[in-house]
C-alpha cells in the first residue's frame, strides 16, 4: 500500500519539479497578493504584525488553489487519469499519494511567500519559526485534503477556474480561522492562547483526510 503512495508521490513531485516555471508564476501571484494587501491596508509599522497572519493565509489559499488545480489538469492531459484508474492501484492509495504531493507543493509555495510577509509586514518570525511551521503544516494538510478531493471533481466542469474556489472556500473557513488565530498566537510566542485554533485544525485534518480517502473513488470513477 505505502509503495503505491510513494510511487504516485514521487511521480507528482518529479512533474512539479519539471514544470517549476509555471509554479513560479503562482508564487509571484502570492507575492503580488501580499504586496497589494499590504499597500491597500497600509498598516503602521506597529499594526502591521497584527495583520500578517490574515494576509499570509489569504495569499496561501489562493495560490494553493491554483497549484492543486493545475496538478489535476496535468493528470488529464493524455488521459493519464484513465491510466491510473486502469492500474491495480486502490483509489485511496492514489488519493494519499496526490494528497502528499499537494502538501509538499503547498509547503514549498508557503516557504517562498513567508519571508516576504515577514519583511513587508515587519512580523518577527525567526524566534517562533518552529511553532509557525507546525501551524502552517496543520493548515496545509486540511487544505490539501479537501482541495485534492474537489480539484479531481471540478477539473472536468466547464467553469472550473471559478468552480473550485466557489465550492472550496466556504468549506475552508475553519482552516482560515484556525490558521490565522494559531499563527497569531505563534507570532506572539506562546501556543497558550491557540489551543482552540490548533484543536480546530487537527479536527479538520482528521475528518477530511479520512473523508477524502473514502470519497475519492466516487469522484474519479468513470
Amino acid at each position: 500500500m505505502w509503495r503505491g503512495v510513494l510511487t504516485v508521490l514521487e511521480k507528482d513531485l518529479r512533474i512539479e519539479w519539471r514544470t517549476k516555471e509555471s509554479l513560479a508564476s503562482f508564487v509571484v501571484l502570492g507575492v503580488l497578493l501580499v504586496v497589494i494587501f499590504s499597500v491597500a491596508i497600509d498598516p503602521s509599522p506597529q499594526d502591521a504584525p497584527r495583520l500578517a497572519p490574515a494576509v499570509l493565509w489569504a495569499a496561501f489559499v489562493f495560490t494553493g488553489l491554483l497549484g492543486i488545480q493545475r496538478g489535476f489538469v496535468l493528470e488529464r492531459e493524455n488521459d493519464c487519469l484513465g491510466g491510473l484508474l486502469a492500474s491495480p492501484l486502490d483509489p485511496a492509495v492514489l488519493y494519499l499519494g496526490k494528497l502528499a504531493a499537494n502538501v509538499v507543493l503547498l509547503a514549498v509555495m508557503q516557504a517562498l511567500v513567508l519571508p516576504l510577509v515577514a519583511v513587508l509586514l515587519h512580523a518577527e518570525m525567526a524566534r517562533v519559526l518552529p511553532a509557525l511551521i507546525v501551524v502552517l503544516l496543520l493548515g496545509n494538510l486540511g487544505f490539501a485534503a479537501l482541495a485534492t478531493l474537489f480539484a479531481a471533481m471540478t477539473v472536468r466542469a466547464r467553469a472550473r477556474e471559478v468552480m473550485l474556489p466557489v465550492l472550496l472556500l466556504p468549506l475552508l473557513v475553519p482552516v482560515l480561522i484556525g490558521g490565522v488565530k494559531a499563527t497569531e498566537a505563534a507570532l506572539r510566542g506562546g501556543f497558550g492562547a491557540a489551543v482552540g485554533a490548533l484543536g480546530v485544525l487537527v479536527a479538520f485534518d482528521a475528518i477530511f483526510v479520512v473523508a477524502g480517502v473514502l470519497l475519492f473513488e466516487q469522484v474519479i470513477r468513470d
Binding site: 466557489v166 468549506l171 484556525g178 477530511f208 469522484v219
Partner: protein, 227 residues
C-alpha cells in the same frame, strides 16, 4: 407513501395557522425588545428547517453513493434547494431583527456567521448541480459535496466561536430558549418550529415530484429517439 403525500400539505397548513395565531394573538410581548421580537418565531424555526434539510441532503447523498438509487439523488437535490431557501429566509429575517435592536444590519455573531457560511456551501452545491454538466458524474460530485458539507458543520460551529461576536449578553436572549421567560413563548416556538418543518417537508416533496417529472421527460425523449 401516497397518504403521507396527500396529508402533508394539510398538516403543514393547520399547524402553520395555529402557529400564526399563537405568535400574533396569544404569546405575550417580550419585555426588553417589544413587538419586533416576534420575528424570533420565524427566524429560529427557519434555522431549524435549514439544518434539517442539510442533514437530509447528506443522508440522501450517502444512500445514493452506496446504493445508487436515483430517488435518493433527487431527494438530495430537493432538500438542498429547500434548505438554501430557508437559509436565505434566516439571513433576511436576522438583519431585519438586528436593525431595531442594535442599530446595525449585520453582526459577526457566531450563529449568523455560521448561517452565511452554510448558505455559501449549499449555494455552491446548487451551482455545481447547474454548471457541472448533465451527466451522471455530477450527481456523484454533488453527493460528495453534500456529505463533506455536513461533516464541516461542527468544525465551522467551533471555529466561528473563536471569532469574537458582538454583545454576547444580548445574544443569549436572542438565540436560545433561555431568553424566553414565559412558558407560552417556549410553546409558541415549538409549534412555530413544527410548522416550519412540515412546510419544509412539503416543499421538498413538491421539488422531488418536479425532479421525477424531469427524469421522466428525459426517458421519454430517449424513447422517442429510438422509435
Amino acid at each position: 407513501m401516497r397518504v403521507l403525500d396527500a396529508l402533508l400539505p394539510w398538516a403543514a397548513l393547520v399547524v402553520m395557522l395555529l402557529a400564526q395565531w399563537l405568535i400574533f394573538v396569544v404569546v405575550p410581548t417580550e419585555a426588553q425588545m417589544g413587538i419586533v421580537q416576534r420575528i424570533f418565531y420565524f427566524h429560529v424555526p427557519a434555522a431549524w428547517a435549514t439544518f434539517l434539510c442539510f442533514f437530509v441532503v447528506a443522508g440522501a447523498s450517502a444512500v445514493y453513493l452506496w446504493k445508487g438509487s436515483r430517488a435518493a439523488d433527487r431527494l438530495a437535490l430537493a432538500s438542498a434547494e429547500v434548505g438554501v431557501l430557508f437559509c436565505t429566509l434566516v439571513l433576511v429575517t436576522g438583519p431585519i431583527w438586528a436593525r431595531p435592536i442594535w442599530g446595525v444590519w449585520w453582526t459577526w455573531d457566531p450563529r449568523l456567521t455560521m448561517t452565511v457560511i452554510l448558505w455559501a456551501i449549499y449555494a455552491g452545491y446548487l451551482m455545481l448541480r447547474a454548471f457541472g454538466g448533465a451527466d451522471e458524474a455530477v450527481a456523484r460530485y454533488a453527493a460528495v459535496l453534500g456529505i463533506v458539507g455536513v461533516l464541516d458543520i461542527p468544525v465551522i460551529r467551533v471555529s466561528v466561536r473563536l471569532l469574537h461576536g458582538i454583545h454576547p449578553a444580548v445574544l443569549t436572549t436572542k438565540e436560545g430558549g433561555s431568553g424566553l421567560t414565559d412558558p407560552m413563548m417556549r410553546t409558541t416556538l415549538y409549534v412555530a418550529s413544527l410548522a416550519m418543518l412540515l412546510l419544509a417537508a412539503w416543499l421538498v416533496a413538491l421539488r422531488v415530484r418536479t425532479a421525477r417529472l424531469e427524469a421522466e421527460v428525459v426517458g421519454l425523449r430517449r424513447e422517442l429517439d429510438h422509435v
